[in-house]
Amino acid sequence: MSLGAGGSGRLPRLTWTRLAWVLAVRRPAWAVALWLCLAVVLALPALLPLIRAMAVEGGLATTLARSGQVTVERRVAGSSDLDGLEAAADHRLAAVGGGVLVPLGVTVSSGPLHLVSVNGIPTSSRLASRTVFAAYLENLAAQVTVTAGELPPEGLGGGATAVTLSQAQADRLGLHLSDRFCLAQAAGGPAWCGRLVGLWQPSDGGSPYWKGASGPLLAMGRYDLFQLVAAGQLHDPVATVRYWADPTRVTSGAIPELSRQLAALPGRIDRGQLSTNLGAALLGFQAEQRPLTSTLLVLDTALTLLALCVAGLVGARFLDGLGPELNLLRARGWSRWRTGQLAFFGLGLLLACAIPTGIAVCGLATAAVGLTGGFAPPSLQPQNLTGDLVALAVEVLALLGLQVWLASRAVWRVGEQLQEPSAPWWRRSAAAAVLAPLGVLALLVPHLIGGLPAIPLSLQADLPVVPALGMALLAGALCLRPLAAWMPRRASVAGALAGWQIERRPDQHASAVLCLVLAAAIVVSAALGLAATLASGPMAGEPILRRGLSAGLAVSLVGTAILVLGGFGLHFLAAAGRRLREYAGLFAHGLSAAQAARSLRAEQLVTARSSLFLGGLLGLALAVASLPLPMPTARGSEMGTVSVLAVAGLLLAAELAVGRLVRRLPGPYVPYREDGPG
């Protein structure tokens, strides 16, 4: 027989991608678990900035709706005088903040006027006492819905002046469409007459256009108004050029510069008085939103680090399961590089599947938070989108880097030794001795340098990242400590086995410990933050900011618990599988399945209890040292209660998860002669 190339056309060709995919999904439950884990890992850190953006945008919109007006006001003699005032105001205000201020239009009003007669009949003294202002309202047609008649065009001229009124004012004055009525500015003064040609009502009563409208307005054309002024029937008309800060053009980052430019505006423009409290309102808002931004930044940084750790933990356990296949390929002469490529490719394919899922999860969670918290969806402005996409790209790159490291480590392990030896105690202690002081220092950085005037504002905004990194360093130091001291009882077979396993390789659960410590720290600090927010309300002036902070803290708390319990559960399953194989000989000598299960449970719970306890203390330190919220420090017992409850909740969930998983473990591993490629 000669092995040629015939007949390969219809046969499926094995490619790198297909082999990587086949190996990655060979254990579907693990592939799905890793896929979901990566999706949550991608979604969770992206969620907090979105919540922050929703709350800040909502708060900013409320502030601008309340205080976003800028006006220039003075008396005008005629139409050309008004044109000059408009041009001068536009010249000074249009450029503020790069076009943040949008013109609402000009209002010219004169009054108050008293109703003298209606349809030739003198008015009663009750009606005569009700005043009205003659006004020219620019852009009125775009702001109202006509309910009767019409809005007359400019410069109509002719007999009686054509005027319009809001339906509510017409009712108040007892006027009807087509009524002819006369008014005078002062008792006994010259009267002039008009005819009601239109009734309207505001299309949007909450629009800034109606903000600051001075009294009941009898609207007429600009030409008509100045004709009446020229005839001496209206006196001292006051023109108001109005601008409004557009919420879609104001970002929280631009507030300092915008406030500076507003403060630099002259007090008078073309002899007109400039009025606004926009700058002060924006600065006040910025001060109010700072606790929200800083707190969520601390938690988001910590959550991102936790997410990467959990992704590493689950990825490593996933690759442990692929060990036999990788080992086989190495035995067949595949180089480490090629084998590692294949392992990385499998992880990468699952990550590629997780990206759209993560985006969808994030979108759904954002929508759910928006609905429950009453937030409008975050605006999809180019600068926001760019920031989000960059953050996603950075996180994906970090995950890819992590996967490269995991794959190369897995290939190194299967190629030469099945288990890495533990680092000697002195090396672990030395590493912990370096990490711990650095962590404490980083935790205190905001207190040490935050208030220094030399620190630029932009850097101060990013300072909350440092304590979160410090917390991670401290968690790293804590995960290097020996666990054996936490073993409670060793009298039983199960206790002795668990204790022996923990002493045998002290750092075998280090990754799980790191995740648990970080998770407990985040949960405790988020719980303390939530308690402080609900109790004292640091942002009483802006309820939407408070709701945003509460939502962000709650998401951190729940998301952290879900993420860490998922990761810890998968770690436990993988560790239990390995233990059952290790105990094969003991099963042959009478170790019962129940004893093995109790041993596995004890081993994992020692890991969980000690990590959650230390992580809880770390979270307490993070909350007190770094969260810019008014912690109830005077009420130490309350803080302790909240911390203990948070840790206890997480521990209870971990114990329930371990207990449930232990019952689902397969039976004892049946020993038989292994002659695999190991």
Partner: protein
């Protein structure tokens, strides 16, 4: 039969462990295998047969002696050369054949896996299918290992080991556990294929039936190659 040696092993020794725990498995083994020659290695359990096979497969470095296969001195090469040796010079069949196969992957793909590491070729599926056909698995191209009978598993393991057309096949207990007729049929098909490919083979096993299909039998006892006899 060609006379130049494909395999030259001289005074090969191997010890597991150190100090008091040291166990000498091979003491002094000399072995020559010519290209396309089939040699059976037999001996009692624990005599060192599998260890010798693992040394020749490049998976163990002998404690002493010298082993040259296809001009490559296995005692002097580095990790990368050893990887290339395992890819291109030897094919290995494990005693438990499933240990050398990827579960959940079709027979056709399993045979293509070793070829992937030696560079891309559009002819891979065709070559793999012909190998499987030659070993009687032409109807099982899409069947994964876990759905195969023990005899089919051994045939698939042989096809995988021969995928890169190595000059040397190393097979550990290739017919162990098979019925007499199934084992005989397997050996006949294997020998036909080895002759076609010009591949030499070292077949390790206890069973006498393999000896009818080899050119020579080498007995190892207590870590020493005792005799080389012509089987026919």
């Amino acid at each position: 039969m060609p006379t130049a040696s494909l395999v030259q092993a001289r005074q090969v020794a191997h010890t597991y462990g150190r100090g008091e725990d040291a166990v000498a498995v091979l003491r002094s083994v000399d072995l020559d295998v010519a290209p396309a020659e089939r040699v059976a290695i037999t001996g009692p359990s624990g005599s060192g047969k599998t260890t010798l096979l693992r040394i020749l497969a490049g998976r163990e470095v002998p404690s002493g002696g010298r082993v040259v296969v296809g001009g490559i001195d296995l005692t002097r090469i580095g990790r990368r050369e050893r990887d290339a040796y395992r890819r291109e010079v030897v094919g290995y069949v494990w005693q438990r054949p499933s240990a050398g196969l990827l579960a959940g992957v079709s027979a056709l793909d399993n045979v293509q896996v070793p070829m992937l590491a030696t560079g891309g070729s559009r002819e891979r599926p065709g070559i793999a299918a012909q190998l499987l056909e030659a070993l009687g698995l032409g109807d099982e191209l899409a069947t994964p290992p876990e759905r195969m009978t023990p005899a089919q598993l051994r045939r698939l393991a042989l096809a995988v080991a021969l995928a890169n057309r190595p000059p040397l096949l190393l097979a550990d207990e290739v017919t162990a556990g098979l019925e007499w007729a199934a084992g005989r049929q397997l050996l006949e098909d294997l020998c036909r294929l080895l002759d076609d490919l010009g591949t030499a083979a070292l077949l390790v096993g206890h069973e006498a039936r393999a000896q009818r299909y080899v050119h020579r039998v080498v007995v190892i006892r207590d870590g020493v190659a005792l005799a080389g006899e012509t089987a026919w």
